[in-house]
Symmetry: C2
Subunit: 527 residues, 2 copies
């Protein structure tokens, strides 16, 4: 049995904390040996990706300490427990099964009388059949015309992950002849969100995917009504334009309001649901089910690597350990995610939810207050755009912010232009290589305004091209990284009690059951 | 003459630092007196906005200390010096004149033999004339057809600000009958960015706005070539489809490659350029010059408030002071910007550049190292979306993150739906009111997993509706806030030396003039 202990009770951690070993990146990367370090400090990932940590503030001694920490914490065993169906989400008393949507790492997991792997694959099959019928024109609108657009209605994990994945593959699909339908997303309860999307959508040829696990998410139900009103005004029959993704026990599951319903369950948290029906419906409609299947394959391959016991061969585990080292030993407060790929423009927003909602906690998995810091602030924008924005602070600000770069050797569209002797893609890659070194090694200058202190750590995930498989591997990598960090911090990465209080108070405001400052703020906002 | 001194040499600061006075928000806001506090702790802004700081960790004593700090630092006098044309950007030896694009707060500023206010308004007039001709079909494409789309090519300040402003007014303009042309943006040197935008743009009816102050920004010139290639392939004459926004001395200024050129100058930093020709061309084409003029009016009105000497009547100054208090006295490392308005979806990304590039510095304006922290990490997404994403960490994480809410009583599109007894807009507003109180006052619970510590500070800017004037006022507020914080930290908010090293190294990579680790990373990326 695995022991669930707080990080600060582990010997390996205490040793690092009591006698921190500071690695000077300028020395490690700056000299002749730098190239050797780059060659050796990397781990292969799935789909041809690799994780390079040569520009992190670690050396063989720190890596040995982190390996010892992984072992003492029992990271591999805890993951095994998770994928074999233990109740890892202790607060909500739930299994954690998102990996089962794309593979099976251990024994069969049976819950509620069902083999869960079979349940998830059955949903994928149903979605594939449905998408095929839409694409072949067997499911059509009232006039017998083909659907051209899919609009996802969902919020949080029903929005951020699927949206980021769609944007990541949109241009790739167009280039590779598998672009089937344009996807759009309505998420915010702000009525201007739905109004704006509908204003530029040909609703007569659109399928709307209503996504809510419980079937009670207020924002999503509100936006559903908004859309239904708009369809009605156009003389359209909404039940011929809407499908639902929900749990089998939800009020939406068997409603005649929908063309079809596809299911997920309580064992998949919203922020971990991109590989379930939540991402599956919209992505299969947009790109075809075979592309969604390739995305799942990439994730499954990467999951296998996460089950590796040796931390130095397990990219997600290693990334997690280094992150905890930076947060708890080196004391850095935030992490920037910087994909050098325009297609990943919303990937940082997805990771923001994934990471901050999972590990932004102050109590351990037994509900006891923790004496150490946990999840950091996560933010980011694509490079090279970020270089012309907030990199000034990253290079010369007073706080050190660890960086997570992502880069690909080739573009997706393979359209390019040569200017000043290099292609755009070469410029893009040259910039990320240059940034890594600029952050790590800095630059001396007598003019302190032009001085760069260096020792600002980064890692990079490098791939050939952002394909469906590579995207699946990337997604899995970060999901598993966040999970391992949750294990290290000994917290429950799979609940989100912190979102409840706001909901309760908002209901009270809408019911006009407030007084004092809450009533005063409500009055200011004319509610 | 103003004295430029480091923050930690100021008596008012030292007093706060030595004897910090902790304000308990639970007490201040939670009791019966909470409503009074909400009523009194707000300052009017322009365009009907107001800045509420009732949920900040301040009381009359702290406010008096901050007022004393403002006076000792000479904030008002320094702003006066700036708007009267002093060389405030000491590093680059430049005036700082972005306020002059929308008004004139002090005496005439003459530089390079020109009255600068006259210069900026002349450019606005030229843009207005050009936009009018395009809208009336007097400037047309090769076939004599009207242009329908405007595509901005620029990066950093030539992208983030104008893009955020466009998105902020797009739905408003559609609702109010002043939507003229769809705007799109190409920024990243990643060729997939330009390829993706062009793929969904009818180039034959598009005007491209090339924006580069120096005329040498590599990303922008590369994207220009990419676009020119694409136009050529479609048999289009690029010189009939492109205009330039640049400085008069740039190589682009008098080129026959462009239909027209509009000018800005070195006295307007990229991140402060939304109200110059950089934002003016694209916004005037998209919405009409009269809408751009209304946006400028809102900014000008807000600038006037920033010139107010009493900190408690000056929203930008007060916001700046409270921010420095949170950063340097209370020790909070980041700030989240949370607009409850989908139209402001990219406003946080603009503020990220504005704030982090301006104040992410480690040296004072004389190039001397600073002994205190400066600009924080800035991040954010619109509410209610963020509530379903990273708010978990904001509520229950181990770090306290100060929050900057923005909310409007009415939606832009004025289309809404009533569900469960309230409109979407009411739900949106109820949520932001609820969040403020949830963060400030928390909730006790014996189950520590459901416990909210509270004392998480926020401010809110509240307006009736996001109009062009309100948007201008918002933009000005944050520009002036950042400026005042730069004065407090005694640094130069108007240069960005931290972006140089990466550029130099990237050039070296492209020239294959590297060795060691940089060569190794370049090889990994196949450059």
């Amino acid at each position: 049995m695995n022991q669930w202990k707080n990080l600060d009770t582990l010997k390996a951690y205490q040793e690092m904390k009591n006698d921190p070993h500071r690695v000077d990146l300028k020395k490690e990367l700056g000299g002749e040996k730098g190239a050797e370090r780059v060659a050796s400090y990397q781990v292969p990932m799935a789909a041809g990706l690799s994780f390079s940590y040569a520009a992190k503030q670690v050396d063989d001694k720190v890596l040995a300490q982190l390996s010892a920490l992984a072992e003492e914490c029992g990271l591999a065993g805890k993951f095994e427990e998770l994928f074999n169906g233990a109740v890892i989400n202790t607060g909500e008393k739930r299994l954690v099964l998102h990996q089962l949507t794309r593979g099976q790492l251990g024994k069969a997991v049976v819950a509620d009388g069902t083999d869960k792997r079979a349940f998830y694959t059955e949903q994928q099959k149903k979605i594939a059949e449905f998408a095929g019928k839409v694409h072949r024109g067997e499911i059509v609108n009232e006039k017998g015309e083909k659907f051209t657009t899919v609009v996802q209605i969902g919020i949080g994990g029903s929005d951020l992950g699927p949206r980021a994945m769609y944007l990541a593959l949109e241009n790739w699909a167009k280039k590779n002849g598998c672009f089937r339908m344009t996807a759009k997303f309505i998420s915010n309860v702000d009525p201007d969100d739905a109004a704006g999307v509908l204003c530029e959508t040909d609703a007569a040829h659109a399928i709307f995917v209503l996504v809510s696990k419980s079937g009670t998410t207020l924002e999503t139900l509100t936006n559903e009504s908004f859309v239904k009103d708009a369809l009605k005004k156009q003389g359209l029959d909404s039940s011929r334009h809407m499908i639902a993704v929900t749990s089998e026990t939800s009020p939406l599951a068997k409603s005649s309001d929908y063309l079809a319903a596809f299911f997920m369950d309580d064992y998949i948290g919203g922020r971990y649901s991109s590989t379930s029906a939540v991402g599956g419906a919209v992505l299969s409609l947009a790109f075809g089910p075979e592309i969604f299947a390739r995305f799942l394959e990439g994730a499954a391959e990467e999951d296998k690597l996460a089950a590796e016991k040796d931390a130095l061969k397990n990219p997600a585990m290693l990334d997690a350990l280094i992150g905890v080292y930076e947060r708890n030993i080196l004391g850095y407060p935030a992490t920037a995610v910087l994909p050098y790929s325009q297609a990943l423009s919303r990937f940082p927003a997805h990771l923001q939810q994934l990471d901050m909602e999972s590990n932004g906690k102050s109590v351990n998995r037994f509900g006891e207050p923790l004496d150490y810091v946990t999840g950091p602030v996560i933010f980011g924008e694509p490079g090279t755009n970020g270089q012309h924005s907030f990199y000034q602070l990253l290079h010369q600000g007073t706080d050190i912010v660890p960086l997570q770069f992502i880069g690909f050797r080739q573009s997706q569209a393979e359209e390019d232009v040569v200017i000043q002797g290099s292609t755009s893609q070469q410029k893009l890659c040259a910039n990320v290589a240059a940034q890594i070194m600029a952050f790590a090694c800095g630059k001396d200058d007598d003019n302190r305004n032009k001085y760069f202190a260096g020792n600002r750590p980064s890692s990079i995930i490098i791939g050939d091209k952002l394909t469906p498989e590579a995207l699946g591997a990337l997604l899995s990598h970060f999901e598993n990284k966040v999970m391992f960090q949750g294990f290290l911090w000994n917290l429950n990465s799979f609940d989100q009690e912190g979102v409840q209080l706001g909901k309760v108070l908002a209901k009270r405001v809408l019911a006009h059951e407030t007084d004092g400052a809450l009533k005063a703020f409500s009055d200011l906002l004319n509610i």
